[in-house]
């Protein structure tokens, strides 16, 4: 099947009853349109694409942090503008999936799924059970964005060290003043560190 998202969406609607998904237009010159899928339907959608539409290679997973939901709708434009107001004002996290086929030629199909918000409801079903290629990439998104992939068999940090606490790819992440912090800082470093990170009682 071609990677035209409109055609793919028709096929998905026919196969999955009550599917919540809509087409998102890309306003830029690239014009790679995408399909926004409700996280509840992500796994059936992935299975259908793999088994019946020939998309057998999940190449890329990209996370995006959207503190401002209006911007997200400006980049992936919905058909009806009324949808945007429904979104939580606090923004959300998004995962963009690029699906490819080894059997047909052409550009990849773009899917996207969004979490409910950026603070405590940050889970999206893991697609590792459908595509193994998501294993390390989902770990990376968990590590750098704090997206929780439910059902991932081994969800640990992958690039940052295990004791690290924050999620550096979030837009509101503040980098530490001194990466090589030692117990005995001195001079400017000590002053700056005290100002930003007051000693814990």
């Amino acid at each position: 099947m071609s990677a035209d998202p409109a055609v793919v969406l028709e096929s998905l609607r026919a196969a999955i009853v009550g599917l919540r998904a809509d087409l998102r237009r890309n306003p830029g010159p690239a014009a790679q349109h995408s399909i926004l899928v409700d996280p509840d339907h992500l796994l059936p959608v992935m299975r259908h694409l793999r088994d019946h539409c020939g998309f057998d290679l999940l190449t890329n997973l990209a996370g995006i942090d959207w503190p401002d939901p209006k911007l997200a709708d400006a980049v992936a434009v919905p058909d009806d503008a009324g949808d945007a107001a429904v979104r939580a004002a606090g923004g959300f996290l998004e995962v963009v999936y690029h699906l490819d086929s080894t059997k047909t030629r052409g550009a990849p199909l773009v899917l996207r799924a969004r979490t409910a918000d950026r603070s405590d409801q940050v889970s999206i079903p893991s697609v590792v059970g459908v595509f193994r290629s998501a294993e390390f990439q989902e770990r990376e998104l968990f590590d750098l964005f704090g997206i929780h992939f439910t059902g991932h068999p081994d969800l640990r940090r992958i690039l940052m060290w295990d004791a690290f606490e924050d999620h550096p790819m979030r837009k509101d992440y503040v980098a530490p003043d001194d990466y090589e912090y030692e117990p005995t800082p001195h001079g400017d470093v000590l002053e700056k560190a005290r100002k930003h990170d007051p000693p814990k009682p």
Binding site: P27, L57, T102, M169
Partner: protein
């Protein structure tokens, strides 16, 4: 109907093994055969691998975050440092994505220059690979030096063109940074004519070598369905017989104008992975010959391109090239500002490591080194 991928760790310990008897080895991060700072936590039953967990991130500097804090062009030199063996492929993939994002045309001459440089980079990578994999097998020194001698000839060309052997920073949005210097084409043609001698020599040196055959035949093969499902791309995938090369499957640049073949393996073991790279080098030489012969005059960069205050329109783009290691893609999101809102690298080395454990289970520890070598990773790209 395709079945779901096997869930890993389904048999972490082989049957009949006492778990207390397992030997836990931390292979790396400082180890000559890990190609950088890469660690594998291996559990051994005697010599047999029963569990292997890769650990990385030692070179992590959050490349993607840094790229979001600087302008579009500011990330171009930084892409060199991803896969530092083949910087020009990285340059091209990034330039391609920005060109798609902003709708920039590339002149004919620049398109030919890019193909030439990308194929030379493939030669550099595969040649270096031959040296590394042989060093992993214990042929320490000579094989690597033979390979590096040839690689250095191409790096000399790169140095004359870009000013740097490796950190090229050469592609620009809408073309290349400068034109080929005088006499460069002639030197390129000499190199293309002489390169097959090296390939013949190296192949003769390897093909019937008993040690090579013993160490690589039937080592690390996986069914092609698993490889596709695991997101493996590049020579690794084609060695298993899957015809998937982005130069044909999703043509970019002007690859659709050249005639070349996609070499395919049969078994997908380490031997096939080595030989597939030999064949790819021969095809690359064919493309180089055609591109050098067809090289037109004209601009090396689109003269209308805006260098200062470059702001692509709101939108997103994903562009990819068939890098020497696999599908190298850049996903960019623009909010209309001077910096990318989101910049994501699809690193082939990183994703090809997903199935490392599956390839190694049940084999000897010594095979792990060969399998890792055959995946051909560069840690600058894995850790980003």
């Amino acid at each position: 109907m395709i079945s779901d991928p096997p869930i890993f760790n389904s048999s972490p310990v082989l049957e009949g093994t006492d778990e207390d008897q397992l030997l836990r080895v931390s292979l790396g991060p400082q180890h000559p055969s890990t190609h950088g700072v890469f660690r594998m936590n291996v559990e051994l039953d005697g010599e047999t691998v029963v569990k292997l967990k890769p650990v990385f991130g030692y070179l992590h500097r959050n490349h993607e975050k840094i790229a979001e804090t600087t302008g579009y062009l500011g990330s171009m030199p930084y892409t060199d440092r991803l896969d530092y063996i083949c910087p020009l492929s990285n340059n091209w993939a990034y330039a391609l994505s920005v060109e798609k994002l902003a709708g920039i045309e590339v002149p004919e001459r620049a398109q030919h220059m890019r193909v030439i440089l990308a194929e030379l980079t493939r030669l550099v990578n595969h040649t270096a690979f031959m040296g590394f994999i042989l060093a992993d097998m214990g042929a320490w020194g000579s094989a690597l030096m033979y390979a590096f001698r040839e690689r250095e000839k191409i790096l000399d060309l790169f140095e004359d063109l870009t000013g740097a052997r490796m950190m090229a920073n050469f592609m620009r949005f809408g073309g290349c940074r400068n034109d080929f210097p005088d006499g460069w084409d002639a030197r390129l043609r000499t190199l293309i004519d002489h390169y097959p001698h090296f390939l013949d020599e190296m192949e003769e040196f390897l093909l019937g070598n008993e040690i090579l055959l013993a160490r690589t035949r039937d080592v690390g093969a996986l069914p092609k369905e698993s490889l596709i499902n695991g997101g493996v791309t590049g020579p690794m995938l084609r060695a298993a017989g899957v015809n998937h090369d982005l130069r044909k499957a999703d043509p970019y640049g002007i690859y659709d104008r050249f005639s070349f073949r996609i070499p395919l393996g049969e078994v997908g073991d380490c031997y096939d992975r080595i030989m597939i790279r030999f064949l790819e080098m021969r095809e690359s030489l064919g493309i180089l010959k055609q591109a050098a012969a067809a090289l037109p005059g004209g601009d090396f960069v689109n003269p209308k391109i805006k260098i200062r205050n470059f702001k692509p329109p709101v939108g997103e783009s994903y562009a990819r090239v068939e890098g020497p290691k696999g599908e190298l893609g850049f996903y960019l999101v623009s909010d209309g500002g001077p910096n990318p809102y989101r910049y994501r690298v699809r690193p082939p080395s990183f994703i090809n490591l997903t199935l490392l454990e599956d390839m190694c289970l049940g084999l000897d520890l010594a095979d792990v080194v060969i399998i890792l070598g055959s995946i051909d990773i560069v840690l600058g790209e894995v850790d980003r």
